[in-house]
């Protein structure tokens, strides 16, 4: 009903690719981060442009093609690589595709689809996270250039990005009409990566702090009309939350299945622990909640795919899916006990990786603010 047989065929190919070319390296990439070459490989296979126009090298698919990729990445336990690919294909590039000019799409979108360019999007700052409107990065127009000054932090793909979509304030007086999305390319004077940050999970992906000091980019690097940045960003965040939710559901499913298999084979007190009611019911709760969240995520994704703008439901899906993924991983650690706490079993990493979901793309608290507002609260 949500997936056609073409989606399922795509799923088989993605799964086989991940089995052969990604899973064998995941442990190594957790230590040393994934190489740029794997992004090019995703690009070669068309996985970075599943729903982009063929004109720019895309595959011309629908939103559920992107959902398939997100799910398979999560099912393969890709963690940070999954996040990096999602940033590339579903966060940094959608505004360029939707609001950019033909020339901008050729310059920025096409290489990102091909995987020859790595893309990032920079919103958060050291002093502005949930309070997105409070960002301090300024973009001032100077002739036919934009001059950027400010800092960005927690930027996925930031250290290696070929281009970064930067959210900047241009006019303090204009409120929400004072923001712009501007592309800054690697190597532009005045732009530097000041730090690569160490983090709790998602170790295979790089997370950077960026500095812009009198960084000048051509006026043509502004995406869309001047002053439209805030609206564009709010739209972008819906897609970001939607795709995150899809991946989180698949991740929770994977961990639930893992915990079930473990509990069926792990013996204690003379029987498999799955036979104990406390474990069995815990597993049932994990599976039941995940199944319910999945239905809601699919229903919402379908509305998004049809061009609706269901902000409340997307926020609800993202809130529920990320909380569920963390909760499921936590339950799995408890079921595995000491093994669950060890690096050699997948559940501790699943927990560490999933924990970001309740913060990134808008915290639980921000989701609740948005949902509350939608009810007139």
């Amino acid at each position: 009903m949500y997936f056609t047989d073409a989606h399922e065929e795509l799923r088989q190919h993605i799964r086989r690719f991940l089995e052969k070319e990604v899973k064998p390296h995941l442990e190594e990439w957790e230590e040393a981060m994934f190489p740029d070459s794997i992004v090019r490989r995703f690009g070669e296979l068309g996985f970075l442009g599943l729903r982009y126009p063929p004109e720019y090298g895309g595959q011309g698919g629908d939103y559920f093609s992107a959902v398939v990729l997100s799910e398979e990445m999560a099912r393969a336990g890709c963690g940070g690589l999954g996040m990096a690919v999602a940033v590339q294909a579903e966060m940094a590039t959608p505004p360029v595709n939707k609001f950019g000019t033909h020339e901008q799409k050729q310059r920025f979108l096409a290489p990102a689809i091909a995987g020859t360019a790595i893309a990032a999007i920079a919103m958060t700052e050291p002093d502005a996270g949930s309070d997105l409107a409070g960002i301090q990065t300024v973009a001032r127009k100077d002739g036919d250039q934009w001059v950027l000054n400010g800092r960005k932090i927690f930027i996925t793909n930031g250290a290696r990005a070929s281009w970064i979509l930067v959210v900047a304030k241009s006019d303090r007086e204009r409120g929400h009409s004072g923001y712009n999305l501007i592309v800054v390319e690697k190597g532009t004077p005045g732009f530097q990566v000041t730090r690569t940050l160490k983090k709790l999970g998602m170790h295979s992906s790089d997370t950077a702090e960026l500095l812009f000091e009198d960084c000048r980019v051509p006026a043509g690097n502004l995406i869309g009309d001047e002053g439209e940045g805030w609206k564009q960003l709010m739209w972008e965040l819906q897609g970001e939350r939607m795709i995150a939710a899809a991946g989180e559901v698949a991740g929770a499913e994977r961990i639930t299945e893992y915990a079930m298999d473990y509990a069926k084979s792990r013996q204690a007190f003379g029987q498999p622990i799955a036979g104990f009611q406390v474990i069995k019911h815990r597993l049932v709760d994990m599976a039941t909640r995940t199944a319910c969240v999945r239905s809601f995520v699919y229903e919402t994704a379908q509305r998004w795919d049809k061009g609706e703008y269901p902000v409340r439901e997307i926020s609800q899906a993202k809130l529920l899916a990320s909380q569920n993924a963390v909760w499921v991983a936590d339950q799995a650690i408890q079921i595995l006990g000491g093994h669950g706490y060890m690096r050699e079993f997948p559940v501790e990493r699943a927990w560490r990786d999933a924990r970001l979901g309740r913060i990134g793309a808008g915290t639980d608290e921000i989701m609740k603010e948005i949902i509350g507002k939608s009810y007139g609260l």
Binding site: D5, A6, E9, L10, H13, I14, R16, F17, K20, L45, G46, L50, P54, Q59, G60, G61, S65
Partner: protein, 252 residues
């Protein structure tokens, strides 16, 4: 050049295999394109990329085999011919080769590519029979296939290495996994496959009235259980005994 690749849908080899009451393989469960045939498709597509032309898939199988055929089309084959008839259920190697030959002949291909054997039946008899029926030379176990002018040259895998075998086109080759990892289909390829031609061919159109296998399965018995290995305890001459064993099994 025109390249025909034979493809077959088989029960998922990763699932447990069952026999039906008349001792035939149960084909009711999940079915996939024979992984061995994916190498055939890959080899065909590589040659097309190098020399131009078209890749035509030919398959014999029930209606649902269309899924396996479509997978080959998603990978990049141009079109397909699907021979389907109820009387072909349980076809043996000879009947299969006759059907495939009848379907391939009108295509006048320059090259026919097959897997070395099917993953389900594993007789390995169909390709040689097919070559004979088509009147083509055959080069088997190819880990590399090249076309130079009207000659087909293959690297034929052997226990020691490989032989270079050349044949006059039109020829039939069977390929191993050595030809290279089958490509992943892109979404574009998958979508395009849905509008590619799959010609359904009835038995009568091939001038054959009814499939009648020459072989039938009389009985099935379980394989002998494996005997336990020999444990060599070291009483001073273990190395010699291990060496003797290795020599005996021709491992050294």
């Amino acid at each position: 050049m025109k390249i025909v690749v034979t493809v077959k849908q088989i029960p998922d080899p990763n699932a447990p295999q069952k026999l039906t009451s008349d001792n035939r393989l149960d084909r009711g469960g999940e079915a996939v394109l024979d992984p061995g045939d994916e190498y055939g498709v890959e080899a065909g597509l590589k040659l097309k990329e190098a020399h131009g032309g078209e890749v035509v898939l030919v398959s014999m199988g029930p209606a649902k085999a269309a899924d396996a055929i479509r997978k080959g089309l998603s990978m990049g084959a141009d079109r397909a011919i699907h021979v389907s008839d109820d009387s072909l259920a349980g076809a043996d190697a000879l009947l299969t080769a006759q059907i495939l030959a009848a379907a391939i002949k009108p295509e006048n291909p320059d090259l026919v590519i097959c897997g070395t054997e099917s993953t389900d039946g594993s007789t390995g008899m169909v390709p040689p029979m097919l070559a004979e029926l088509l009147g083509m030379p055959q080069a088997t176990f190819a880990k590399q296939v090249e076309v130079k002018g009207d000659k087909v040259s293959v690297h034929r895998q052997t226990n020691e290495g490989y032989e270079v075998v050349e044949a006059q086109a039109p020829a039939l080759v069977t390929v191993t996994a050595g030809v290279g990892e089958p490509r992943y289909a892109s979404l574009k390829g998958i979508m395009a496959a849905r509008s590619k031609e799959v010609k359904k061919v009835e038995l009568s159109a091939l001038g054959i009235e009814k499939g009648s296998p020459a072989e039938s399965v009389e009985g099935v018995a379980d394989a002998e259980t494996r005997k336990a290995g020999e444990v060599i305890e070291d009483d001073g001459n273990a190395a010699e005994r291990i060496l003797a064993f290795l020599v005996q099994v021709k491992a050294v």
